[in-house]
């Protein structure tokens, strides 16, 4: 909303200034300003409409619904206050789902480090590195459903390539798809693999932005390439590291589709289900929309807290420029 009123303020201030210079100029300026204001409004309109229709309105509805016993199939809803939240905190399944969701953060350090290494490799002008860039990026743009089908086949406990390969070394591969602990590990591996490409693209962009003069100066001062990496490269790309951390943590906390596709009912003992999966089940399998809204809000607040904490800590290590 602030953005909308700014031009207006400016308009008023300039109008006051123009008063001294005579009416004619004011009139001309005024209509020009009005036109500009209208144009400005038009420009922000699409974003505003989107924001209001797809974010603000649903959020308000969700807050309202979370305090009712709304069942999708029943027309009338009763106000029940915070009962949904109380019930949510008492539900052991919710806490299992929270633990599983935290588990899904595991792949982040792996693909961040590997992504950076890949980016460094691509950054050097090596023959054929364009081909590699495309290859890295491929998993990210592939349809998740296709990937899951492929992985189900790869990780099949008897005929899958992974267990066959392990068998060559005399290791008996685990029951990836049947045992929830291993299914979770498999999802971690899959997400790490999928995300390396896009992460390395971000890092590559950041690396290209580090001014070469720093390296030149460091070379003259006699710094080796390892020192250069830790003293120049890493500090210079901390903003992108921070950005990726924030976005990826939020993304990982919202893991859903892998759980839905790899398991039925969240796996044995609910061992693979994430919070989003829990919410989805409540809303669309058990028609408890009000309860699901409450769960979604609680989870939203949790994510918000995590992200705020990250921002708070970011002062300590993110380089913001001179």
């Amino acid at each position: 909303m602030l953005a909308l009123w700014h031009p207006d303020d400016m308009c008023l201030r300039k109008k006051a200034a123009g008063y001294e210079k005579g009416m004619v100029i004011i009139m001309a300026k005024n209509s020009l300003k009005r036109k500009e204001r209208r144009a400005g409004l038009l420009f922000v309109m699409p974003a505003m409409v989107q924001f209001v229709c797809f974010f603000l309105l649903p959020l308000c509805l969700c807050i309202f619904a979370s305090m009712t016993d709304w069942n999708v199939l029943v027309k009338n809803k009763n106000f029940i206050g915070l009962q949904n939240v109380v019930e949510l905190f008492r539900d052991s399944k919710f806490w299992i789902a929270v633990r599983n969701t935290v588990y899904m953060l595991l792949p982040i350090p792996f693909y961040m480090v590997l992504g950076l290494l890949f980016a460094l490799a691509c950054h050097k002008e090596i023959k054929g590195n364009k081909v590699f860039r495309v290859l890295y990026y491929l998993p990210y743009v592939s349809s998740i459903v296709a990937l899951v089908l492929l992985w189900k086949w790869l990780f099949n406990s008897e005929f899958g390539l992974i267990n066959q390969a392990l068998g060559l070394f005399g290791i008996e591969g685990p029951n990836w798809l049947g045992d929830p602990v291993w299914t979770k590990r498999m999802i971690v591996i899959m997400i790490a693999w999928k995300m390396i490409g896009i992460t390395s693209i971000y890092f590559l962009a950041a690396l290209k932005n580090v001014p070469p003069v720093y390296y030149e100066a460091a070379t003259i001062d006699g710094a080796g390439s390892v020192t250069q990496f830790f003293k120049i490269t890493v500090p210079m790309i901390t903003p992108i590291i921070f950005y990726l951390l924030c976005v990826n943590i939020i993304g990982s906390l919202q893991t859903f589709i892998e759980v839905d596709l790899f398991t039925t009912d969240g796996g044995r003992n609910y061992g693979v289900a994430t919070v989003i999966y829990y919410i989805w089940q409540k809303a669309f399998n058990y028609s408890q929309m009000g309860y699901a809204c409450a769960a979604a809000l609680v989870f939203g607040v949790m994510i918000l807290l995590v992200t705020l904490l990250q921002f708070k800590l970011s002062d300590k290590w993110v380089y913001e420029g001179e």
């Binding site: 036109k35 209208r38 144009a39 038009l42 420009f43 309109m45 699409p46 974003a47 989107q50 016993d69 069942n71 999708v72 199939l73 029943v74 052991s92 099949n156 406990s157 008897e158 005929f159 899958g160 029951n175 798809l177 049947g178 009912d265 969240g266 044995r268 003992n269 609910y270 669309f284 399998n285 058990y286 028609s287 929309m289």
Partner: protein, 467 residues
């Protein structure tokens, strides 16, 4: 002025960019229309067809437009499309908009349509949802229609299959009728005749039925290296035949800590964990028993009548059906049978046409014939099942294996008779531990009794809140 037009254009472009994603998907649907195999495309093309038909025929009496929503594989969709054409021919004033939704999305979509007040006039209704939808006033009471219709004779339909769609306010089984069975699927035991002959096992007959011990003995004889004797045995069959159930008769208390239940449960688990005549859990996840059977590496397996086509097409050996073994304690046999229903929305503006449509689709003789000759299901009409179906010159020889379930000992699954199924998923979430021998059936049943009861209480509570 020019500036303003430019602004407008830019804004419009911006808006288009924002909705870029939406436009793209629309394009996809359009191009997919030629590909009649994709579900979405079918929806789309069917819509356009019926719309055109609707527009062409404005001259005569007022056209009634019905929406009909269902799921199904290609052959089922094709069958239904042909039936709908036949219906439109018989009732020229009605045009039907047939919407096909992917099976996995169906219930979600249906619930959202109900929430938005846009439910189709007629639709598929899975048996698990009958109670939920009927109790919330989302199904039209078909009782009086069924008695006074001229499309079919209700006495000629499997009584079991009709009665599961009755709901009296507290439970299924009697009361007003809320849906018609689109199909019935009997669950029986299929066995590999070649393996039986090789192992010297004589299958049971009507005069000489098997009990669990005979079944186990046969499975042990059949198990040999690559070949397993049996798939995991049907829990329902074991538990019910032993005179037990998951819940008590009122469906409000868990009853699976009963020794009779535990005994049956342990019998099922022992097949895998003690006697090793059924594939292990990891073997099962890597190759389902269903596929293992088709490959000729499994002796016996519980199978639904819907699998007939696969058995015809994939088995390179002779197979036949047997009745489920009886419990050695009671001498009784039992198993579940499934069905999907066709229902009408009470919000429909054309109730009579919608009722006619579902009756036509459910009991049309040609359609029934197509569905059993293509191996999709057994006929819903009794005279046809005992007549031309039983005489059909195709496997299984013992077609009574399916028919007995429908006529005699088949039951509606316990979880379909409660308001929601959360307690059921809770019970099942850890049964693998028993099947794998990590826990005894008794330990497991004791350990989950409280949490399952809590969820069952919730289900009962939700149902009560609606009355």
């Amino acid at each position: 002025m020019k500036k303003e037009i430019a602004t407008l254009l830019i804004t419009a472009m911006g808006a288009l960019a924002l909705t870029g994603c939406g436009n793209k998907t629309d394009d996809n649907v359009q191009t997919n229309t030629q590909n009649t195999e994709a579900d979405d495309a079918q929806t789309q093309s069917q819509k356009t067809e019926s719309n055109e038909a609707g527009n062409d025929d404005t001259s005569g009496e007022e056209k009634v437009e019905l929406t009909f929503m269902g799921w199904g594989n290609d052959s089922e969709v094709a069958t239904f499309r042909a039936m709908i054409d036949a219906y439109e021919e018989k009732y020229p004033n009605v045009s039907v908009d047939y919407v096909v939704v992917a099976n996995s999305d169906y219930d979600t979509k249906m619930q959202n349509m109900i929430a938005a007040g846009e439910q189709p006039d007629a639709f598929y209704c899975g048996i698990d949802y009958v109670m939920k939808y009927a109790a919330t006033g989302n199904l039209y009471d078909l009782s009086s229609y069924v008695e006074n219709n001229d499309l079919f004779d209700v006495d000629n339909v499997w009584e079991n299959a009709i009665n599961i769609y009755r709901y009296n306010g507290t439970g299924l089984g009697d009361g007003p009728l809320y849906a018609l069975p689109k199909d019935v699927s009997a669950f029986s035991v299929v066995y590999n005749k070649d393996l039986f002959d090789a192992a010297g096992v004589t299958p049971p007959s009507e005069d000489d039925p098997w009990d669990w011990n005979d079944y186990l003995e046969a499975a042990q004889k059949l198990t040999d290296g690559e070949v397993y004797g049996t798939s995991m045995y049907s829990m329902e069959s074991a538990v019910w035949s032993n005179g037990a159930d998951w819940l008590d008769a009122s469906l409000t208390q868990v009853a699976f800590t009963d020794p009779k239940f535990v005994e049956a449960f342990q019998f099922v688990a022992d097949l895998r964990s003690k006697y090793h005549v059924a594939p292990s859990s990891s073997e099962e996840t890597s190759l389902s028993s269903y596929d293992r059977f088709m490959q000729g590496r499994l002796g016996m397996m519980g199978v639904g009548s819907w699998a007939t086509a696969d058995l015809w097409n994939q088995c390179q050996f002779e197979w036949d059906l047997m009745d489920w073994p009886v419990s050695p304690n009671t001498g009784e046999k039992a198993v579940w049978f499934g069905s999907a229903g066709l229902a009408v929305s009470p919000e429909s503006e054309h109730l009579e046409e919608a009722c006619n449509l579902i009756a036509f689709l459910a009991f049309n003789e040609d359609a029934q014939r197509t569905s059993y000759t293509t191996g999709m299901s057994v006929p819903t009409l009794k005279d046809m099942a005992y007549g031309e179906y039983a005489e059909m010159d195709k496997a299984p020889v013992n077609k009574k294996g399916f028919l007995n379930v429908l006529e005699d000992y088949g039951r509606l699954a316990t979880q379909s008779r409660t308001f929601n199924q959360e307690w059921w998923s809770e019970f099942n979430s850890g049964v693998e531990a028993v099947f794998n021998g990590e826990m005894s059936a008794q330990e497991y049943c004791d350990s989950v009794a409280d949490s399952v009861q809590a969820l069952l209480d919730k289900s009962v509570e939700q149902q009560k809140a609606l009355n």
